[in-house]
């Protein structure tokens, strides 16, 4: 009896496997590529990961709608780097060794990108950053690319701007990692060279929620303004606590400020805050994308969404430009990126021109007004915050 059941089962299985239709010949020829997305899906800056995942999904849908993926089968694998170097290295190793991806889009956090860079170079996997501005990312090796400008530029723009606004004494409070320290070192160098003086210099760990010790020391130094490259949540809390301590001078921030968490954490206290961020582009590509993003997710595309959307589309453009005869692997994707010219994206035009950092990108001056992020308007400027 038992034997008979087995025979029937085996026969049925055999029939099933024969019955499966084989794939049509044309589809088998289509190339396929797996793209890794490395971004903080959890942790202090989990909101960046959320924006980037949404942007990637939208980019994939848009590329399909445009017919760019007819001959290319794209698979996306998300890995969480928690914006921490240790988790980033694990995430990257998994993408490179297990999923064997030729290109990873990420991470927005400079500190992760710098930690992962040596492995990317060693394994010949392209790392296309979706938000790392740290100066050193530009020199991190042949396989590390980025489309945003460098913090060297960001810090010197801020140094000039601070002096232009008449702030002669500045206190710095920064997040203790590659991004925060890099910005502050460059800022201090430029600012003091041009005649400003740094009156207090404090740092904090990335997950700090209580900034009162730093602020108390800052208050004693009575600065004209505080330069605070902190992560968004920390910045919001810090500014709030500054007001509670009766410290009402202007706060100057950096690129990460342009996320909703600043207002969420800081409330009314962040009104009037000034900061620098990656170049704003409002051409038709951006308008098209912004409308779609808003329709799908109910909010304006944040900075990390814009840059991740572009980074992902650039990655796919590079992969599609590889000739049929060549395999899609790290070295070939790298070649394709280096020769990429005039890519019109939602964050502007990208050209690598044989280098690892996109050329011609800069930073814009922004301010917070009534909970909204708007371009800096000298008339609306306040020296004393609410």
């Amino acid at each position: 009896m038992n034997k008979r059941i087995w025979v029937v089962l085996v026969a049925a299985l055999a029939l099933l496997s024969v019955g499966c239709p084989s794939k049509p010949a044309s589809e088998q020829q289509a190339q396929s590529v797996t793209v890794g997305i490395m971004t903080p899906l959890t942790g202090e800056v989990a909101s960046w990961g959320d924006m980037q995942r949404k942007a990637t999904e939208l980019a994939l849908a848009d590329l399909k709608a445009k017919g760019a993926l007819e001959k290319l089968d794209v698979r996306v694998i998300y890995e969480d780097d928690k914006a921490s170097p240790k988790d980033g290295v694990n995430a990257f190793r998994k993408l490179a060794d297990v999923d064997r991806v030729p290109i990873v889009v990420g991470s927005p956090a400079s500190t992760v990108t710098l930690a992962v860079a040596p492995i990317a170079n060693e394994k010949k996997v392209v790392l296309l950053s979706s938000g790392s501005t740290a100066t050193d990312v530009g020199k991190a090796g042949p396989y590390v690319f980025r489309i945003m400008p460098s913090d060297e530029v960001q810090a010197s723009i801020m140094a000039d701007w601070a002096l232009e606004l008449g702030y002669k004494k500045i206190a710095v409070i920064f997040v203790e990692n590659a991004w925060g320290r890099g910005l502050v070192e460059q800022f201090k160098a430029d600012y003091t060279k041009k005649g400003g003086s740094i009156v207090a210099d404090e740092s904090s760990k990335p997950d700090t929620t209580d900034y009162r010790a730093q602020l108390t020391k800052t208050k004693e130094a009575s600065p004209d303004a505080i330069y605070a490259p902190l992560y968004t949540r920390g910045a919001g809390l810090m500014i709030r606590q500054a007001r509670e301590l009766g410290l009402r001078c202007q706060v100057l921030g950096a690129d990460v400020y342009e996320t909703p968490e600043l207002v969420e954490a800081g409330g009314k206290a962040v009104d009037g805050v000034l900061y620098t961020t990656y170049g704003q582009y409002s051409g038709q590509e951006f308008q098209f994308f912004a409308n779609r993003y808003k329709a799908k997710y109910g909010r304006d595309p944040e900075i990390y969404a814009r840059y991740c959307y572009d980074a992902f589309c650039i990655a796919i453009a590079a992969v599609t430009s590889i000739p049929q005869a060549k395999p899609i692997d790290g070295p070939n994707v790298r070649e394709a990126l280096l020769t990429l010219k005039d890519f019109h994206g939602v964050s502007g035009v990208t050209t690598f021109d044989g280098r690892n950092s996109a050329t011609g990108r800069t930073f814009d001056k922004m301010m917070v007004t009534n909970g909204h992020h708007v371009p800096f308007d000298p008339k609306a400027r306040k020296d004393i915050l609410p």
Partner: protein, 290 residues
């Protein structure tokens, strides 16, 4: 002066966390990580009650504290009581609690997300002036509530039958059982009290700086340092331990960089472990206990 005020406020919060932990520790006799999870959950209960359900400050606070006490009791009933019955060792209990902590913390991340949740409103007011320094209403409330709770707890411990039993169970659960104390039922009461206390601090700290899924563990670590400095069985010791730790953290960074704050806390811990492992007022240890 501002440093002293900052230190006192932080110290008062540490002292309260330490007290709540010591209640749970005394009757359980193991390093209970889920206490940190209950602490975090309390903050999110507050978020639920105030922001989502829109309850008033007092109603929301009361409900959150009750919910946290219930959570503490449920954990004790479902996990620790069966383990205690089987005479599980302190290490086993510690590992179980660590596992549970991880699950509970990640549940919060899943439900509420990792970003900061603010419990206080959108408006920001300049703090009140105290001896030339600034402190917000919430910060003053932390200090006042801390003093009230410690006085009340001291009286409870010395003068009520509950206090006598707490000390008896802490001293030797078996002997207490022989004397007619219902140890298991008693553990439930103690975890309700400890969890409720933790909820009070959690809500206050949440109103002050906001909550994230990891607030509990950070708070617990500092609470434990305060407990060790003060001596686990001494209520005034724990109070002093917390205040001393807060002051050391804030005054210590007056002249050196603020990034050393946590290092200062753990330096205090090491100093006490080496020089006075029994705490300020504790009697010299007769045996080491985990």
């Amino acid at each position: 002066m501002q440093f002293v005020v900052n230190g006192l406020v932080t110290g008062a919060a540490y002292a309260l966390v330490a007290l709540s932990f010591s209640v749970v520790f005394r009757v359980g006799r193991f390093f209970n990580f889920t206490h940190a999870a209950v602490f975090t959950w309390a903050g999110y209960f507050g978020y639920l009650c105030w922001t989502i359900l829109g309850l008033s400050l007092w109603a929301g606070a009361l409900l959150s504290v009750c919910l946290s006490a219930v959570l503490g009791v449920l954990l004790e009933l479902s996990v620790y009581m069966p383990l205690h019955r089987r005479r599980a060792s302190g290490v086993v209990l510690l590992l179980v609690s660590l596992g549970l902590y991880t699950i509970m913390q990640n549940t919060i991340s899943m439900l509420f997300g990792d970003e900061i949740k603010r419990l206080s409103g959108n408006t920001v007011a300049e703090g009140l002036s105290v001896w030339g320094a600034r402190a917000t209403r919430i910060q003053l409330a932390i200090v006042i509530i801390c003093v009230v709770v410690f006085v009340a707890f001291g009286i409870l411990l010395r003068l009520s039958p509950f206090g006598t039993r707490l000390r008896a169970v802490a001293d030797d659960p078996d002997l207490a059982a022989i004397q007619g104390v219902q140890v298991h039922r008693f553990r439930l009461a103690a975890s309700a009290l400890g969890s409720g206390l933790a909820a009070v601090v959690s809500l206050l700290m949440g109103l002050d700086v906001g909550i994230t899924p990891t607030v509990g563990l950070n708070a617990l670590m500092m609470g434990v340092v305060a407990v060790i400095a003060g001596g686990v069985d001494s209520t005034p010791g724990i109070f002093l331990g917390g205040i001393l730790l807060g002051l050391a953290q804030h005054l210590g960074v007056w002249k050196i960089g603020t990034q050393w704050q946590d290092a200062i806390a753990f330096a205090v811990l090491i100093l006490f472990l080496v020089l006075r492992p029994q705490g300020f007022f504790g009697k010299p240890l007769r045996k080491a206990a985990v």
